[in-house]
Symmetry: D2
Subunit: 261 residues, 4 copies
Amino acid sequence: MPIRTVVWGENVHEQHNAIVARTYPDGMHQCIADTLNEDPDIEATTATLQEPEHGLTEERLARTDVLVWWGHAAHGDVSDLVVDRVCDAVWSGMGLMFLHSAHFAKPFKRLMGSPCNLTWREAGERERLWVTSRNHPITQGLPDSFELEMEEMYGEPFGVPEPLETVFISWFQGGEVFRSGLTYKRGAGNIFYFRPGHETYPTYHDATVQKVLKNGVKWAFNPMVRIAEPNAAPNVPVDTAPEKIEERGPKLHSDGEEGFR
Amino acid sequence: MPIRTVVWGENVHEQHNAIVARTYPDGMHQCIADTLNEDPDIEATTATLQEPEHGLTEERLARTDVLVWWGHAAHGDVSDLVVDRVCDAVWSGMGLMFLHSAHFAKPFKRLMGSPCNLTWREAGERERLWVTSRNHPITQGLPDSFELEMEEMYGEPFGVPEPLETVFISWFQGGEVFRSGLTYKRGAGNIFYFRPGHETYPTYHDATVQKVLKNGVKWAFNPMVRIAEPNAAPNVPVDTAPEKIEERGPKLHSDGEEGFR
Amino acid sequence: MPIRTVVWGENVHEQHNAIVARTYPDGMHQCIADTLNEDPDIEATTATLQEPEHGLTEERLARTDVLVWWGHAAHGDVSDLVVDRVCDAVWSGMGLMFLHSAHFAKPFKRLMGSPCNLTWREAGERERLWVTSRNHPITQGLPDSFELEMEEMYGEPFGVPEPLETVFISWFQGGEVFRSGLTYKRGAGNIFYFRPGHETYPTYHDATVQKVLKNGVKWAFNPMVRIAEPNAAPNVPVDTAPEKIEERGPKLHSDGEEGFR
Amino acid sequence: MPIRTVVWGENVHEQHNAIVARTYPDGMHQCIADTLNEDPDIEATTATLQEPEHGLTEERLARTDVLVWWGHAAHGDVSDLVVDRVCDAVWSGMGLMFLHSAHFAKPFKRLMGSPCNLTWREAGERERLWVTSRNHPITQGLPDSFELEMEEMYGEPFGVPEPLETVFISWFQGGEVFRSGLTYKRGAGNIFYFRPGHETYPTYHDATVQKVLKNGVKWAFNPMVRIAEPNAAPNVPVDTAPEKIEERGPKLHSDGEEGFR
């Protein structure tokens, strides 16, 4: 069965900016989904901010293996309820790939627990991404480096936790560097942040970027059964302890009681 | 100058439970602060849930080097505004030591970005903590293992991100294990989670635990000047780029504009 | 194509100890290989210390996707040449799963860069392994914990570097704990250390352990083309630099020269 | 008491190359030691390849808190005995800072367990180092980036394990990037790799580089008592097990026996 992927797009610039609309006539999310669908192992659909519940109902997330997130101008419009739902889905095992300006998306900030800030410049400068973890699954089919002739600059320090692995580091023409490919695990879910993708440039039409997107989805996919209650903190009663023990000492809780949250 | 430490206590069980009140007549927070004050390098005061703004005003956090957090029954009563403030302080460089049931405290969950769940049992069983990172500063003066005759059990899987370092792992009489000492960095702030400290047992009167608390504060302390705006994402205009570049290509932003959040 | 796996066995205890010979009549390596061969995705053969070049010629390693290593009494008899060869294979992308007493095997120590020491006791005590990274591929099909009624104890502190992920932690009846499942990446190769497997107990006949062995091989397998020269440190001449630069300043090396090693 | 630091220099280029000799009239090691001695918390001496036992006797390492290592042309001339000794000292708690071409030094390769390879170019190009871990002790007093007008280029992929933390990443004029500041722990010892320092340029006369060297020594220093036998793997007899157990099952070892190595 192919990897059920939902590409979430904010879908704002496409509606208000002629350049973006021309570069991505069906929206950035649709372009990314079309790319992913070229791969027989992936089956991608889309969801957008404007749909009810942003297209991310409980039911839909339950049948989503990997979510892809692009947002920028409207981070603040994303409902906190949906953010909670997305985090729960990740913790239960859904993969999540964050793209470019999604570094400031609510779910990314929530999952990182850090400011996620950086420096930036929109000047159409050259970016060159270098592989820092050879033969990482996300680098399948890539050379040691590849170039994007025009991209927005993101610069260090990038306010994220130390990752599981640093997969790409970018060089920018204007003199900055950036950790452009980072992997994380939160609960049972795999997370991949991938930097390129400024809306005014044709980045998602680039063949190497498209390869990374496909690799990223495959890497983030966890085929195991999702965890039913990813936040559960069950009490283990004395009589079901793995080793036989006698209860003793003062107690606050009565048997089988829920813990405090 | 000593490390300015604030011990935050929820201060609920002490008011409602005779056992806790007897074990910690001035509150758990005061017991911990007294312990820390035995060390000439630390100067500890307290703050509690019941004070205005939970005793954690902007001004106080600005002069706090390390915050210590114990909470349990009233996690939900902690104001989200104060949680945001605490996270900002950590990101700017304040150290934060979370104790025991603070695994479910709002700031811990926010800083971890993960469910932070576990299994538990309150049966007064024996816990033995093993050092897993020899000569880590937090283990200064400790043997390779030490025991607490009666403690609440916390069991794996513990729903936290892979730490920078695993410093302690606990063995429980009833058959479980738990990663009881974990270090993290979020923004410029050092975070230490330390498991022991159930309210109905005299854990914070134990000399070895007290040693860990002192070591933990010293480890979490970052002597560098706090970052003024830990969330800032400054634009770097083309004419101040480290390397001379010419602006080109289509643009969405005008010069010096704020980024989207 | 199935994962080409070689199970390397020291094959010493099997020849000299009646208990081990009875428990593993065809050798521990053969038992492990037979187990792995139950999985249609794996094709396992064996190699032993006593074969020429310990059965690990350059050619054989070149066609090995994952190597499994069990050694104990004869670590010192493993040729340094073969150790170098194994490390090179790992760095080029071969997976390597180390079992039990292989914590002191030459290739493990070489790949870890640390003492790899621990405490131990052979008393047939109960071991219970807890999953610490839920839904990690290595835990596929496992419950949150499983037991081995009789095992040798290994205790912390375990002298290894902080892993990519801690997958299992063991509880021992005698009071110790141990990080029993650890993942690493060295060069392009994935490494998994898995603790259980003392030679006098029937551990590799246990169904759950067998499941972990199969999962471990699949996790360690890297399907990408092996790196031809994993130690190469190529000079990039000025005229092939990604960005046009002019050579300047004093030089030690002449063009295209090999670096020092 | 100041941090007892030994700066180990290969001391070969200084003897054979006029440019290096002019830039570092007393040797690179002496220049680095002089710099470190400006800091009242550090007391630095030197040792060189040419001295008996390379100046690194058992006794000297025992009273060394932090070792600094610069080597290049003569990596192969370093005695394996001394390499073993240096690794043992690190594992027992000695700090070790590796500089520049020491990425291929025997002790670095041994402690990393990986190929430690990279790409390189000697063209006097501009290097700019960016801080990636804000307020890390090693960045004390540094701006977010600093420049070296002429340096040798080192490029990714850098064949090292994922570090504890990535502290610096370099931008090179010719288009490459490199993880230039990396921290590790091996046994009880802290390790810092710092990239800059090609012998034909005046890098160690640069004030910011000098600041990093001082910070690096302080970070690597572990004030705790050194571990006496960092490789010991003691047997824990049944009657001294932390929890009372009865011995059972078949045994290979007799009581109190040494384990195999």
